[in-house]
Assembly symmetry: C2
Homo-oligomer: 357 residues x 2
């Protein structure tokens, strides 16, 4: 690889001058030398060694991001928001997938710190695991102590800046909707119980049912992986245990899609026999058939906010933003079947949130 001194030598100038030309520094350089340097750069196909640059420069510019899995639409959307702001501000993003492995998360914090990122963003559910949470907080605190900025998305156990989707309110929306549609036998297809996202959404759901005089016994909940296959499998277990279920809440849309697959395989009509409500409103939700009724989270916006917090001026008080959830009514949730319905169907209203395009 050609180095800066190669360029300088070829142009017949000092490395200092070459550097100034290449970085268009404020220090003036005569046009003639500038030309010579530029020519040498082109001839040698010179590209500065980024590591040497980062070492020599003092200011850090890249931002580290740790997500569960970028290819999961939930995180893809959040990442889109992060990217948008980062690109606007000329920041590079280093994105790492933890695949929901707490140890890997810890490792990545170290790795990114080692890469001298200016800020760190952790997106995705926290864990009900005190030892891990303590360790993570220690590492984050150490990082912040050296001037690093930290923001978390969707996890409340860290003390720094945080952007939180209102998971609890979202769960509540889903629960209330199904109650109003007259459902009593409601099953839940949940993500891993160690995730705070799971328990938060579940808590809101349970609260809604309780308010309506229903309840949510443990036997109507199945925990599985937070993905399509997990949802399919949990739904199967749920139906095996209680064939009389008239509604299923899936704690994210991927699981909801799995639930729909299982229902289809068992020839249960949606929503005539069984209603389904998802969570997140990822893009594909409107394209499955029937289109998925779900709880929308402003995913892109969450990313935008988190990145803005972290790149903005730091305050000593950690900021905490809660972004609202919203119920999107499409076609998978309908009135409970008559023989099981307990209350009158609600007044008619527009049932579709968005037209097919």
């Amino acid at each position: 690889m050609a180095t800066l001194s190669d360029v300088a030598r070829r142009a017949g100038v000092s490395p200092a001058t070459a550097s100034r030309v290449i970085n268009s520094s404020s220090k003036p350089v005569t046009d003639e030398l500038r030309e010579r340097v530029l020519a040498a750069v082109a001839e040698l196909q010179y590209v500065p060694n980024a590591h040497a640059q980062l070492l020599a420069r003092s200011h850090r510019s890249a931002v580290g991001v740790i997500v569960h899995d970028v290819s999961d639409p939930y995180f893809a959307e959040i990442t889109r928001g992060l990217q948008r702001v980062a690109t606007d501000r000329g920041r590079l993003l280093m994105i790492c997938n933890s695949y929901r492995d707490p140890d890997r998360e810890l490792e990545y914090v170290e790795l990114l710190r080692g890469h001298q990122v200016a800020a760190l963003i952790l997106a995705g559910s926290g864990y009900h695991d005190d030892a891990f949470t303590r360790q993570l907080n220690e590492k984050l605190a150490a990082y912040e102590a050296t001037g690093g900025r930290v923001a978390v998305i969707g996890r409340h156990e860290h003390s720094g800046d945080a952007v939180m989707p209102d998971n609890r309110a979202g769960g509540h929306l889903a629960g209330r909707e199904l109650c109003e549609l007259g459902h009593r036998a409601i099953g839940v297809v949940a993500g891993p119980r160690i995730l705070t996202t799971t328990t938060d959404r579940l808590a809101g759901l349970r609260q809604a049912l309780t308010e309506q005089g229903r309840e949510l016994p443990e036997r109507r909940i199945r925990y599985a992986e937070f993905d399509r296959d997990g949802g399919a499998e949990a739904t199967a277990r749920l139906l095996d245990a209680d064939p009389g279920l008239t509604a299923i809440v899936a704690l994210n849309d991927s699981m909801a899609i799995g639930a729909l697959a299982t229902l289809r395989a068992r020839s249960l009509a949606v929503p005539r026999q069984v209603s389904v409500v998802g969570f997140d409103d990822m893009p594909i939700a409107r394209d499955v058939t029937p289109a998925l009724t779900t709880v929308r989270l402003p995913l892109v916006d969450m990313g935008v906010r988190a990145m803005s917090l972290v790149l903005g001026t730091g305050t000593s008080v950690p900021r905490f933003e809660v972004l609202p959830a919203e119920l999107i009514r499409r076609d998978t949730a309908g009135p409970a079947p008559a023989q099981r319905r307990e209350t009158a169907a609600p007044a008619p209203r527009a049932r579709r949130a968005d037209a097919a395009s």
Copy 2:
């Protein structure tokens, strides 16, 4: 940030010794000093500066990847394959999204070269743009000249190692299937015409139709963005121009999903009135309703192969691997409607490639 000399000072040893302990070098260090160093590391929360390390060490380890968009399932799958091999070999991946912008692609090649990646993988369609192709090849050649390894996935215009899905054969499969089902009025929802992927798939499709005595006039092709909305929009234009179409080939699954949305919005039954065939077989294809008949590409495997090529021993002859396409029959392609059907329906056969799970 604590530095190595901070650690060394605190432990009362030289930086050399500290470095040896931290990197568990082969050079022996007495247990006592080792302990002291480790203690100092823990107390100071020391993390080595990755840039300094990379500068000091000679060997490059990270691998750069340029894709159109990781959150696009096509690339998500490829990336999964890349990751798998990279992780096995202890390599870090730097993934960059070009968002199908050739200039950004060029920039990223420079950027990754600057970051001293050991290898570079470009995934995604090439462009019908000679000036760009030449520039890219120059940059890649310059990189290879300094010992870098390069592999491309799905683009044939570069001379190095390449992994190619058989786009042409895939197009042929889709075309033949629809011909055998008796379709004559076949429309195509295509990606941007500047992409080689588009033209390759189109060429195979056209060949199949020609072989069956049909043809594929330009007026039955609509070009649009390679995503869901592009597919929806192109399908609408196609149907407006020719309402008598009995089949639509979408040149990727995202577009196919858009096509299904448009057909649904126009109350055209799939596959009774209009058949649809997609391309890629991304995971969601089996979960839409009706489940999507599509051409499967071994996406994960493509990633695995490319990474293996690039991390394997280099040969002077560039290797070129073509991976086969396969038709996956699900529920969106059926016999042409009777009044339009031109040949007898084919012999009955199993129509579903995979059971609902």
